[in-house]
């Protein structure tokens, strides 16, 4: 599993739980890269990612008193981010076909044009999955959670996570293969 609870987060968590806003900011920043990875892959654009994470972090701050420590803070935060991403997706007219405008955003870290194109195809393929499939795929294959942890974050049964990841993988492969004529993504498979 890739979750790494940084010292910054651990040190500042008690103060954050007491409503200390700067401490909360330090805690959230220590997890932000992981949350951005999920939100960006779920939503496919920087603006949507920013909007969702802004909402999610604010929800987290408002709900700090409900964090009992029964789960890891990262798991708890992932769950909020996931729910918020779903909310944002539901607000959109369509679940799929989201703009990929941010691939050219100056804040986006990319190096070679072909890689950008390849990444765009992966995002497009991801967007053909249902949000639920996309989420379990991102958490397990993208973020390295095991099935149990992913199931906990997504609040689904372990068996559901297992079957859902299988369908998600198959669907993603299918989507990528369907684009093989126009790009070289399939060569990665």
């Amino acid at each position: 599993m890739k979750i790494s609870v940084s010292n910054t987060g651990e040190v500042n968590l008690p103060a954050a739980l007491d409503g200390d806003v700067p401490a909360f900011g330090r805690v959230i920043k220590s997890y932000d890269a992981q949350m951005r990875a999920v939100a960006y892959r779920m939503l496919g654009s920087q603006s949507a990612m920013d909007d969702a994470l802004q909402d999610a972090y604010l929800k987290a701050f408002r709900s700090l008193n409900t964090f009992r420590g029964d789960s890891r803070f990262a798991t708890w935060l992932y769950r909020i981010v996931w729910r918020t991403c779903i909310d944002h997706l539901r607000k959109q007219t369509h679940y799929s076909g989201q703009p990929l405008e941010d691939l050219e955003d100056p804040h986006t870290v990319h190096s070679f044009e072909d890689r950008v194109i390849s990444n765009a195809r992966v995002l497009e393929a991801l967007n053909t999955l249902t949000p639920e499939q996309r989420a379990v795929l991102i958490l397990i294959d993208g973020e390295g959670f095991n099935y149990q942890e992913a199931a906990e974050i997504l609040e689904i049964e372990l068996g559901t996570a297992s079957s859902r990841i299988s369908r998600a993988r198959a669907n993603l492969r299918s989507a990528l293969e369907s684009k093989a004529d126009t790009n070289d993504v399939s060569r990665h498979l």
Binding site: M1, G19, V21, P22, F24, G25, I28, K29, D32, A33, R36, A37, Y40, R41, S45, Q46, S47, M49, D50, L53, Q54, Y57, L58, F61, R62, S63, N65, T66, D102, D105, H107, T108, V109, H110, R115, S118, N119, V122, L123, L137, I138, I140, D141, G142, G144, N146, Y147, Q148, L158, G159, S162, S163, R169, L172, R173, L176, V185, H188, L189
Partner: protein
């Protein structure tokens, strides 16, 4: 049939593809905006039993659309219909210039934090609404005094009626919420030079709205009426309107035709200084 679950078996190829996607950075103002939002939210108070909070006129009210705000006796009660059960917060309207005790009442079931936060904000808003009464009353007193002077000059020849101070009042039911919450009084002094407008609850806790010195034209027989109406214009806004009228011995001076008063509430609570109290 059994399902074989391998807890840690990410698809390596897909993992490589997914992790190769560059992740966008936040926009430059992301953290500033977020922390500002958090700080704004942090101005509210989480309610726990026996908590107190200070209400100031600049406080604002924020409630969810499904919240209901009712005022019972001297307490504001906010109820939000929730599947978890009703939740009520009582706010004693003691004196908004001081610390107002807040207590959680009937926490029948687990109460989410957000609900509590919404409730305290609602309380603050309700109390603030009362504070907002201050200025309109002041303005009305001033305007009514001017009207009174004019009217008395015009009706100087009219005979005095010598009727009991409140016999002629038309009683209009006040909005239930406001009427149940508080009682509005106007005290006028023996020499007719001072009136004090107050909102009181049923246990004589007084919120002084305004003290207004009146001119020498006022007679001890002048009767002041305070009419108040409260309307919840939305689930998040409580609009209160108060008008003050003055009735001299010979004429009634008022800008409002809506009266909420009762003749049997006139009392002599503090003989010697306050000779009459009129309820609205």
């Amino acid at each position: 049939m059994s399902t074989t679950i391998r807890p840690n078996d990410p698809d390596e190829e897909l993992t490589r593809l997914l992790t190769s996607i560059p992740i966008a950075q936040h926009k430059p103002d992301f953290w500033t905006s977020l922390l500002a939002e958090c700080s704004l939210h942090n101005d509210t108070t989480t309610i726990t039993p026996s908590d107190t909070t200070t209400i100031t006129p600049s406080d604002t009210i924020t409630t969810d659309p499904d919240d209901t705000i009712t005022i019972n006796q001297n307490r504001a009660e906010i109820t939000q219909p929730m599947s978890l059960g009703d939740f009520q917060v009582h706010c004693d309207l003691v004196d908004t210039r001081k610390v107002v005790p807040i207590e959680r009442n009937k926490p029948s079931k687990l109460v989410p934090y957000g609900l509590a936060a919404a409730s305290i904000l609602a309380i603050v808003g309700v109390a603030s609404a009362f504070l907002l009464l201050r200025e309109p009353i002041t303005q009305d007193l001033e305007s009514q005094r001017r009207i009174e002077v004019d009217e008395r000059q015009q009706s100087a020849a009219a005979p005095a009626t010598n009727e009991p101070p409140n016999d002629a009042l038309n009683v209009t039911p006040a909005p239930a919420e406001l009427a149940a919450a508080t009682t509005c009084y106007v005290y006028s002094s023996q020499d007719g030079t001072q009136a004090r407008v107050t909102i009181e609850d049923n246990i004589d806790q007084v919120l002084v709205i305004e003290e207004q010195l009146l001119g020498p034209d006022n007679s001890p027989n002048d009767v002041f009426y305070l009419t108040g109406t409260g309307t919840f214009v939305s689930s998040t806004q409580l609009s209160l309107t108060v008008d003050i009228s003055v009735r001299t011995q010979s004429t009634m001076i008022t800008e409002s035709q809506t009266w909420t008063a009762s003749s049997d509430t006139v009392t002599t609570e503090t003989p010697g200084r306050l000779y009459q109290r009129t309820e609205c």
